[in-house]
């Protein structure tokens, strides 16, 4: 018994060393230190990370988050846990107000000239002097539907309350996106601080719950491609990819309007590798890199060089990837302060724990 146990133990350890032999990175090949990156899931072409590592000799530790809120909770514990992160607009505002990110030194990010001016203009909503953030991707939120399962024209958020599609609807499992849908449906602002409006939206979301198949974030994509659901709330960036995988899928921005969001790179206050973080942001702003990321993740890029070099005409001129914002009623999320945040969180909690 003793010997058997020992031999099993030994074989396990050998197994692990064997695997480590082929898997683990050799630290000697990264002379220029480390960089902790915290980004959305499926939000980069992973080959790009390797290329960055090879070019700069920086070891990238890459983590992914699902929602802005998860990112915030993680960072609030320890702002030095990551060097460079990619939150959305309203969250950047919250991070600035909580003194969790630092001003950028744009001298070290020369490729920033590739980013279109209008995106810096829009960024002023949450970063008034353009001191903290560099736009990475932007887009809208809309409804993705399966043409074989939905016969009517989809042009309103109301369809997500149609009992015909009971069990066929996928909602976003993130507080701001879920409430945006319900608030706009009622003609309210997605940034309302009015408790009574939030109450109405809450009741609507609870009423919708029996029809909802699941509250998901990144899973919307795979479930829609697999034909698991008829309608799903999704970010515009997924539209091109999902239509490519399943031609029955179509993306629309409802007539009530939508959230126009920007996800931007920022550097954390506690960052121990600021120089590497700047190199990262600069690398992401490079035309060829932005183009490769765009082609991989299909989220609209604010990088003008990349935009001009998109090979596929259909995509370069796609109204989904690059919508005319003048033609739709748009607004962007703002950070609403601790009090209102609480209001939304409690209401969301009520929705999620409601019986149905």
């Amino acid at each position: 018994m003793k010997k058997k146990f020992l031999s099993i133990f030994l074989s396990l350890t050998t197994l692990s060393t064997l695997i480590s032999g082929c898997g683990v990175k050799n630290s000697a090949s990264y002379p220029n230190g480390k960089l902790y990156v915290y980004n959305w899931g499926e939000y980069i072409d992973e080959e790009v990370i390797k290329e960055f590592e090879d070019e700069t000799g920086i070891d990238v530790i890459y983590d992914m988050f699902e929602t802005n809120e998860i990112m915030f909770a993680k960072l609030a514990q320890d702002t030095s846990a990551y060097d460079v992160i990619c939150p959305s607009d309203y969250m950047i505002q919250k991070l600035i107000e909580n003194d969790m990110i630092q001003e950028l030194n744009f001298d070290n990010i020369p490729n920033i000239v590739n980013i279109g001016d209008q995106y810096f203009e829009s960024s002023k909503d949450f970063d008034p002097e353009n001191k903290y953030s560099v736009p990475y991707c932007w887009g809208t939120v809309g409804i993705l539907y399966n043409k074989t399962m939905v016969d009517e024209t989809v042009d309103s958020w109301d369809i997500l309350w149609d009992s015909k599609y009971s069990g066929q609807i996928l909602m976003q499992d993130s507080v701001r996106d879920a409430f945006m849908v319900a608030l706009l449906k009622n003609g309210f602002s997605m940034n309302t601080k009015d408790a009574s409006e939030i109450d109405i939206a809450t009741d609507d979301l609870i009423a919708q719950k029996p029809l909802v198949q699941a509250y998901v974030v990144d899973q919307v994509r795979d479930k829609m491609i697999g034909g698991e659901a008829a309608l799903g709330v999704i970010y515009s960036g997924e539209a091109i990819y999902t239509a490519r995988e399943n031609p029955d899928l179509e993306y629309v921005v409802p007539k009530e309007g939508t959230n126009v969001w920007i996800d931007s790179w920022v550097i954390t206050k506690g960052s121990k590798n600021v120089e590497n973080a700047e190199k990262w942001i600069d690398f992401m702003c490079r035309g060829d890199i932005a183009l490769r990321n765009f082609e991989y993740i299909t989220y609209s890029t604010p990088n003008t060089v990349a935009q001009d070099n998109i090979e596929d005409d259909a995509i370069r001129n796609s109204k989904v990837a690059f919508p005319d914002l003048d033609k739709i009623n748009t607004e962007s999320y703002q950070y609403l302060g601790i009090e209102t945040d609480r209001l939304y969180n409690d209401a969301w909690m009520e929705v999620k724990s409601a019986d149905y």
Binding site: I70, G167, V216, E228, D346, M349, K352
Partner: protein, 274 residues
């Protein structure tokens, strides 16, 4: 007993573990209690704990208790007959079969649950098979039934082991004696077998009920985030809402249930392992 010549050897030997237990068991629990009873500014408050009484939270707690009870009951009903069958088998074969029931535990717990997702989905494996046989499809993914199924599947071995252990320890002579004295099968079971296996049953119940009550992974994977359990709320307070005080307060509420369970277990005089 005189294992140690020197009087101080025993305390000295046990001191590393005592220090370990102090730092990694008692102090952390103290911190949960501290956070649970304070506000963000460090003032004493009952508010975090009282939050459990709010409708949304209460609903989640009651739902968790209900699902955990159902799962425990199902596990018990499945495991007890199995324990009896196994303990009546020949020694060499039953260890082999018991192992077969434990083996799935070596697969990652999340993977096992994920596979149930694959099996149960609307267009999942089970429905595809049913459809090809022209049978009606099942639709239980993202319902409480799916969560109960996931709990039963994951925690069944915790019920099988202690019940099997206590059943296989019963001296066959006692049962034979009962038979000789004229008891029928049912009487023997009710008067002899079941009472003697009670410690195993109780420890099985604890080992299934506690993880079922507090899980968050099973409910979020098989419930489509539609069915919020108390574990999900606590997890969210820490990972999304960044309210450690409320999260700790709710954890204290959970600990009360665990404590009640401990007392029941202690009263039964059983010290089984997990």
């Amino acid at each position: 007993m005189k294992l140690f010549k020197n009087k101080n050897t025993a305390p000295l030997l046990s001191s590393p573990y005592m220090a370990w237990a102090l730092i990694f068991i008692l102090v952390p629990l103290g911190m949960v209690i501290y956070y649970g009873f304070t506000t963000e500014d460090g003032f004493f408050t009952f508010e975090n704990i009282a939050t459990i009484a709010k409708p949304g939270y209460m609903k989640a707690l009651i739902r968790s208790i209900r699902l955990a009870l159902i799962s425990t009951l199902v596990c018990l009903l499945l495991a007890y007959p199995l324990g009896m069958i196994l303990s009546s088998m020949k020694l060499t074969r039953n260890t082999y079969i018991v192992t077969l029931f434990i083996l799935p535990m070596w697969m990652n717990f999340l993977l096992r649950t994920l596979t149930w997702m694959t099996l149960l989905e609307g267009k999942g494996v089970i429905n595809t098979v049913l459809e090809s046989l022209h049978l009606p499809t099942i639709n239980i993914i993202n319902t409480p039934s799916a969560i109960v199924l996931g709990m039963v599947y994951n925690f069944l071995p915790f019920m099988i082991l202690p019940i099997y252990n206590s059943l296989s320890k019963i001296d066959e002579n006692v049962i034979n004696a009962a038979r000789d004295l004229g008891a029928d099968s049912l009487q023997t079971f009710l008067k002899i077998t079941f009472p003697l296996s009670l410690p195993g049953v109780l420890s099985g119940i604890t080992m299934v009920f506690i993880p079922a009550l507090t899980t968050f992974a099973i409910s979020s994977m098989l419930g489509g985030s539609k069915i919020l359990l108390i574990g999900n709320i606590i997890e969210q307070e820490f990972t999304q809402l960044y309210d450690w005080h409320l999260g700790s307060g709710l954890s204290i509420v959970l600990m009360i249930f665990i404590f009640i369970n401990m007392i029941i277990e202690a009263l039964s005089g059983n010290h089984g392992g997990k």
